[in-house]
């Protein structure tokens, strides 16, 4: 990529937050990211979908990432890129051994019968792209991209 293009891209707005892995952080992050993403022509329902996806990713950090030394650190980054929003949620906790399995609907390692194992399913359903990187003992990075449906339609 030419340096000029990179310089322009670096002007794209971005957002970075570092928070404790607590349930409250899920609420703070979902609201903040939705306000940030509202710069794009998302519908209100699409922003609500984004909120659910962000809440699931941050909620997982609160519930699973740091079982023995909670709260740990959670970092959330968002950027507007090519007409969409990219959100990354990262922790430095226990990680996920089998990512494909963890992403299955109804899969949960929680002993609490009230945990249904739908978090990854909602992230997948409510965004356009979901990537999960994880190393056991090192941590987890969830990356999601969402684009306003109207913008995607206009391009076709």
């Amino acid at each position: 990529m030419a340096d000029g293009a990179r310089a322009v891209m670096s002007m794209d707005p971005w957002l970075e937050m570092a928070l404790p892995s607590l349930p409250e952080s899920a609420e703070i992050c979902r609201v903040t990211v939705a306000v940030f993403a509202a710069a794009l022509p998302f519908t209100l329902d699409e922003l609500e979908q984004l909120k659910v996806a962000v809440a699931e990713a941050v909620g997982n950090c609160a519930l699973h990432a740091y079982p023995t030394r909670a709260p740990g650190r959670v970092q959330v980054r968002a950027r507007l890129e090519a007409g969409g929003v990219v959100v990354e949620v990262q922790d430095w906790g226990v990680g996920i051994a089998d990512i494909a399995l963890a992403r299955q609907p109804d899969y949960t390692t929680s002993p609490d019968p009230d945990h249904v194992g739908m978090g990854f399913t909602f992230m997948e359903q409510f965004t356009d792209q979901l990537e999960v990187e994880s190393v056991p003992g090192r941590g987890t990075l969830v990356r999601m991209r969402k684009e306003p449906a109207a913008a995607a339609r206009d391009r076709r």
Binding site: A26, E27, Q49, E56, M118, F122
Partner: protein, 116 residues
């Protein structure tokens, strides 16, 4: 999150409003379980129409309540939220385990109609 209740003849109505999520699900669970345990009514209408936000933890808490109350021989019916919260609820295929009504009035009418 707001929770109110109304005792009717044969039916306990539990109305939930606000955000039902990883932060509030525990309080929701304790509060509504307490209301149901304290009520002599056999039927429970769980009215979620004023729930504005629902995540998987909130969803799990709802499913858990339905399961638990049924195990305790309550007849449970549900009034869903709207918008994306409704989509979240629908993705759990909840309709297979509990009757879902479009409004509290419909739920009360139908509930009364069941045993005539």
């Amino acid at each position: 999150m707001q929770i109110t209740r109304q005792e009717r003849v044969g039916t306990l109505v539990v109305r939930v409003g606000g955000e039902l999520d990883v932060r509030t699900a525990g309080a929701f669970r304790d509060k509504v379980d307490e209301l149901v345990a304290a009520s002599a009514q056999q039927r429970v209408v769980l009215n979620l129409s004023r729930v504005t936000f629902l995540d998987s933890t909130g969803l799990g808490a709802i499913l858990g309540r339905v399961r638990r109350w049924k195990e305790r021989d309550r007849q449970v019916v549900l009034v869903p939220p709207s918008g994306v919260a409704r989509t979240v609820l629908d993705m759990a295929a909840l309709g297979r385990t509990v009757a879902v009504y479009p409004s509290e009035r419909a739920a009360l009418g139908e509930v009364a109609g069941i045993d005539g």
